[in-house]
């Protein structure tokens, strides 16, 4: 099989060939890259169905790409493993996990003989998660000379920064605004690696904080117990899902899962994508999809406005992605995998309006309807009486810029709890941490500069967000923030030298440069462009669009300029004077590819086709029946239906079940929450017995 689904060209990410190895999928030879996630090797080879669910025998494929669920289960060299957490090796024999896997007959005395003592480690500070918050905290802890263990379940530190190919918001001094997330993650990781006080355990998943204050950790396939004096939970967040018919089909992913595949592993699991959820996560995922060469067919958001930054939504609209606000997903349609998605308009109470259904052909549906903090480690530590702090998404869902900031603050708090002499945490830091979490403000009307001579930036940033690098980079200090120096809207006041630094740095791609100096009637408009994988040359004609993606006309590309440092291209367009200030970018996706199908497809027997528990395949209808019979205890729903007993450990069904309670009008105060139990992920018995190498990835 060929590597048809591999991304071979990317505008931002370096594409390195890697070492090709041969492995076997259901006895057929397949090529992959040594060390990459087995799941991504399979996807690169065009394999989407990894096995069949033991409950309904329906095919299933990757879902979380994060080691949390077990839908990517395959049989590798005879053992059931999560393919997303298993590095590919030469000659690996991989088979589909159809129904229940067979426990290998082997084992024998060899593995039993390997049983040893479980290693125990004492540390002052244990930081869970090497994402923006955890890394920032570890930098502070290391600086203060505190013995710190930083653990992360992935091979590469950086957390979700590894996936963030876009430039950061925030301010330059506090959160490296204008720099791409991947670079920030790398810088922080290098800083931590160089610090002798910080030990980093990659490939290490925290399993539970036990009541005897020991923390069980699966370290690279081996079990270890760590006794910390203080814990910092910076484990991040998990993605929420939605109950809709077809939510279990192959091709329904969380947005984070999708970004892992396209941005970390450089594989393309989709050709045509639909997104539900207009928060920053969904909007950015759409942008990343286009950078990965995937058509984004549309995005649906239930609220009347997208909840994410307007500049992110505008970027998508300008590329030619229709955004359907006040719309919800009615169903994902298809036999085994997603073939289309049906959306409908919703009324003010979020009920779908009959007759407004539209169906779009697509092979993938991204669900980006919000995140839930991974708060269980905090709760476990508190129950055990172990001092614990939390930072980043594990504390509160917010932008990574804010996570880096509150991670630093949490690092100091941990140090202080350990009795270290720590300078007072400046009040300004707390204020800044709050500010970086700010939700976007209301949209102000656009005011264009009046002058039509010389050169000037035109700023298409109309909504207060915590971001100001345009004002920081301007060499003549001609861009200033109106009102608050971080949140305020940027205003230009007239001493532009045409350096285009503001165009390059703006994470929202919301600044253009209009230059009347050569030709006042046909000024040159410089726009940023991050889709260099789509060929573009001087002399080409492009469909120029305004801030909202409305077409303004066909314009000629006068010149192209690649910026090696920034990876953003500057495209110089020749635009008639009357339109010059309104042009922000040009359209990439032909409108013909985003049209709905002639007839909307409406799911029959919807409530039985919508899953409340994806692992155990519990239909929403079954949960609804119990709720209507008076059940209010999620533990009882679990006991009867098995919802929450599956391989993911009840990580996703809780919100789904609660959404059904909500639909049924049950007072949330009456719902009895489900009990959470160890372990965070499944671990082989031999590993828990202290055996080396019984784990995945060995």
């Amino acid at each position: 099989m060929s590597e048809q689904q591999r991304i071979l060209e990317h505008p931002v990410l370096p594409v390195t060939p890697g070492e090709t190895v041969t492995f076997y999928w259901n006895n057929e030879p397949v090529e992959g890259r040594k060390g990459e996630a087995l799941s991504s090797a399979l996807i690169a080879a065009g394999i989407a169905a990894f096995g069949r669910n033991a409950h309904d025998h329906a095919p299933q494929g990757i879902f979380c790409a994060n080691g949390q669920c077990s839908k990517c289960l395959v049989i590798a060299d005879g053992k059931p493993v999560k393919s997303c957490m298993t590095p590919l090796r030469e000659g690996m024999k991989v088979n589909a996990a159809d129904d229940l896997p067979e426990l290998p007959a082997g084992g024998g005395t060899g593995e039993a003989a390997g049983i040893g003592a479980v290693p125990e480690v004492e540390v002052d500070a244990l930081v869970i998660g090497a994402g923006p918050a955890g890394l920032s905290a570890a930098v502070e802890l290391g600086r203060l000379g505190i013995a710190t263990l930083l653990v992360d379940d992935k091979h590469e530190p950086g957390g979700k920064l590894v996936l963030q190919t876009h430039k950061f918001f925030g301010s330059v001094e506090d959160s490296q605004a204008g720099t791409r997330g991947i670079r920030i993650g790398r810088k922080l990781a290098e800083q931590v690696a160089a610090d002798p006080h910080v030990t980093v355990w990659p490939d290490s998943t925290v399993l539970y904080v036990y009541s005897d204050r020991k923390v069980g950790i699966l370290r690279d396939g081996k079990y270890a117990l760590v006794s910390p004096k203080v814990i910092l939970n910076a484990a991040g967040a998990r993605e929420k899902s939605l109950v809709f018919p077809g939510n279990h089909l192959i091709g329904v992913y969380g947005a984070g899962a999708f970004q892992t595949l396209v941005n970390r592993d450089l594989v393309r699991p989709s050709r045509r994508l639909f997104i539900v959820g207009g928060g920053n996560v969904g909007l950015i995922a759409g942008y990343h999809a286009i950078q990965a060469g995937i058509t984004v067919v549309g995005l649906a958001e239930a609220l009347p406005e997208c909840g994410g930054y307007k500049v992110h939504a505008d970027k998508l609209k300008r590329l030619g992605v229709p955004i359907f606000t006040s719309h919800t997903v009615l169903s994902a349609n298809g036999g085994e995998r997603v073939e289309s998605v049906t959306i409908a308009r919703v009324d003010e109470r979020f009920r779908p309006v009959p007759g407004t259904e539209q169906t779009f052909a697509c092979d993938t549906l991204l669900v980006a309807v919000g995140l839930d903090p991974i708060a269980e480690f905090t709760a476990q530590a508190q129950a055990a009486g172990l001092p614990v702090f939390s930072a980043g998404d594990a504390a509160e869902i917010a932008e990574a810029s804010s996570a880096m900031f509150n991670g630093r603050i949490a690092g100091l708090a941990v140090a202080r709890a350990l009795g270290a002499k720590v300078e007072e945490i400046p009040a300004a830091w707390q204020a800044k941490a709050e500010q970086l979490k700010s939700h976007p403000g209301k949209v102000e009307p656009q005011v264009f500069p009046e002058a039509e001579e010389g050169v000037m930036p035109v700023i298409h940033c109309l909504q207060e967000i915590p971001c100001n690098p345009c004002s920081t980079v301007c060499p003549t200090e001609s861009i200033r923030m109106e009102g608050d120096p971080l949140l305020g809207l940027p205003r230009y006041d007239g001493r532009c030298i045409g350096c285009a630094k503001c165009v390059l740095v703006c994470p929202g791609l919301a600044v253009t440069l209009v230059d009347y100096r050569r030709d006042r009637e046909m000024p040159i408009v410089t726009v940023p462009y991050e889709m260099s994988h789509v060929p573009l040359a001087a002399g080409d004609k492009v469909h120029g669009v305004d801030i909202d993606g409305n077409e303004l006309g066909e314009f000629e590309v006068a010149a192209l300029q690649q910026n090696r440092e920034n990876l953003t291209r500057l495209v110089r367009l020749r635009v008639p004077r009357a339109l010059a200030k309104r042009v922000v970018s040009f359209r990439l996706q032909d409108q013909a590819v985003v049209q709905p199908l002639p007839a909307a497809q409406i799911a029959a027997d919807a409530d039985n086709q919508a899953m409340a528990c994806l692992c155990e395949r519990v239909p929403a209808a079954e949960v609804r029946r119990l709720i209507r019979s008076g059940v209010t205890d999620i533990n009882q729903i679990k006991a009867i239906t098995r919802a929450g007993m599956g391989a993911c450990g009840g990580k996703s069904c809780d919100t789904l079940i609660r959404s059904i309670f909500r639909q049924e009008g049950v007072d949330p105060g009456k719902i009895v929450p489900g009990t959470r139990r160890p372990l965070f992920v499944e671990v082989p018995l031999g590993t828990l017995a202290g055996a080396p190498g019984a784990g995945e990835g060995e």
């Binding site: 059931p80 229940l100 426990l103 084992g107 039993a112 055990a384 205890d633 006991a639 018995l685 828990l688």
Partner: protein, 384 residues
């Protein structure tokens, strides 16, 4: 005061719920009170689901024989799948002493007509393929024993009992019992008061506290055990495996593969950890996993999914306390199940109904001799 009920059952668990079903079907009006939010939330859901009749005395044997009939026939008779599996029990012996002890017990069990036999190491390796043969002297095997899902079963009993007229009040904690002329007149909770003709204390871990409200004392002490469940895999072994060899830190442990294909297991700490402590400890996994993998190396690559901690409401001699109280005439004990409430429950529910309706049989009289509330608790059960 709330309406009068013929019987109030305290505790909607492994014993209280099947008792309510049996009572309701006998035409007795029953109200079940529980301080938690739904049936089976204290110890029932912690049980791993083993059901055996192969005990060492008449009382437990008879009650469990009836329970097995109810569990095994449930799907056919009542329509719900409760995960019943007739997979049997086995006690492998790895020493001459153990072999002797088990074989002597088998004689007693045969005396009660139980289907239990001794299998050779080779036969046992067919029942449990890959079990450690090193020092294996054979095993008991009782194919008529089995397993079911405590979670499904208690809920099946619950819905059927409600359909038969039993009433339930959840999230209500019993705060006092109002006694009148040597009898319980009513039960007072944090939310109301309910008159009763008779009272059944089936309160599990809280059994002793409830008894004290009637001025009685029953020696029931919760004893902590940790259990866990793995991912499901294709069926690879048959019976429940009970390893009764003591080791430093633990007495016995046992495991079986349930109807879903998941291996469920549990260990008995030694010395016992008394009191109700539901938080998981770091000791459990290394301890139990080491023992299991040494006994059955094939388990090494099976992945553990979830663990929990629960209690055996223990009595000093390992036998339950069941029967009408000698002093408080309308108070019926049904406590101290010693970790066997799930397997005793359905049989006991019917027995409790016969006690309530004064229809005890001669067999019942003999059963209750094992469970006498006023006994001296001197003996020790051969197979706890």
């Amino acid at each position: 005061m709330g309406k009068n009920h013929d019987v109030i059952v305290i505790g909607a668990g492994s014993v209280g719920v099947p008792a309510a079903l049996s009572l309701a079907r006998a035409g007795v009006s029953a109200l079940v009170l529980d301080e938690l939010a739904s049936p089976g939330q204290m110890s029932n859901k912690k049980a791993i689901g083993g059901i055996r009749a192969t005990h060492s005395d008449f009382g437990k044997i008879r009650v469990c024989q009836r329970s097995i009939e109810i569990f095994a026939g449930w799907k056919e008779n009542e329509g719900d799948d409760i995960g019943w599996l007739s997979n049997g029990y086995s006690y492998p012996a790895y020493s001459a002493g153990m072999e002797k002890k088990l074989k002597e017990l088998m004689k007693v069990q045969h005396g009660f007509g139980l289907d239990i036999r001794w299998v050779s190491p080779e036969e046992y390796n067919e029942l449990v393929p890959g079990i450690s043969m090193e020092g294996l002297r054979g095993s008991t095997y009782s194919p008529g024993d089995g397993s079911a899902s405590p979670l499904l079963a208690v809920n099946a009993f619950f819905f059927k009992s409600r359909a038969a007229g039993a009433e339930y009040r959840f999230n209500e904690k019993v705060t006092s019992l109002r006694l009148d002329k040597g009898k319980v007149a009513s039960v007072v909770t944090d939310k109301g008061e309910y008159g009763c003709g008779q009272l059944i204390n089936a309160a599990g871990n809280s059994g002793r506290d409830i008894a004290r409200l009637a001025g009685l004392d029953v020696p029931v002490v919760p004893d902590n055990h940790e259990g866990a469940i793995t991912e499901p895999v294709k069926r690879f072994f048959g019976p429940m495996v009970v390893d009764i060899r003591p080791e430093p830190g633990s007495a016995n442990y046992y495991f079986y593969q349930n109807n879903e294909g998941q291996v469920v297991f549990c260990i008995t700490p030694d010395p016992p950890i008394l009191g109700v402590q539901n938080e998981s400890t770091s000791l459990f996994f290394p301890q139990v996993a080491k023992r299991m993998v040494q006994l059955y190396p094939r388990l090494a690559s099976l992945r553990v999914r979830r663990s929990w901690r629960g209690q055996y409401p223990m009595t000093p001699d390992g036998f339950p306390i069941v029967g009408r109280d000698a002093a408080v005439g309308n108070y019926i004990h049904a406590v101290g199940m010693c970790g066997q409430g799930f397997m005793l429950g359905p049989g006991l529910g019917e027995l409790l109904t016969r006690i309530v309706t004064h229809k005890e049989t001669a067999d019942d009289g003999r059963i209750l001799q094992s469970f006498l509330p006023g006994r001296e608790f001197k003996g020790v059960e051969a197979l706890k």
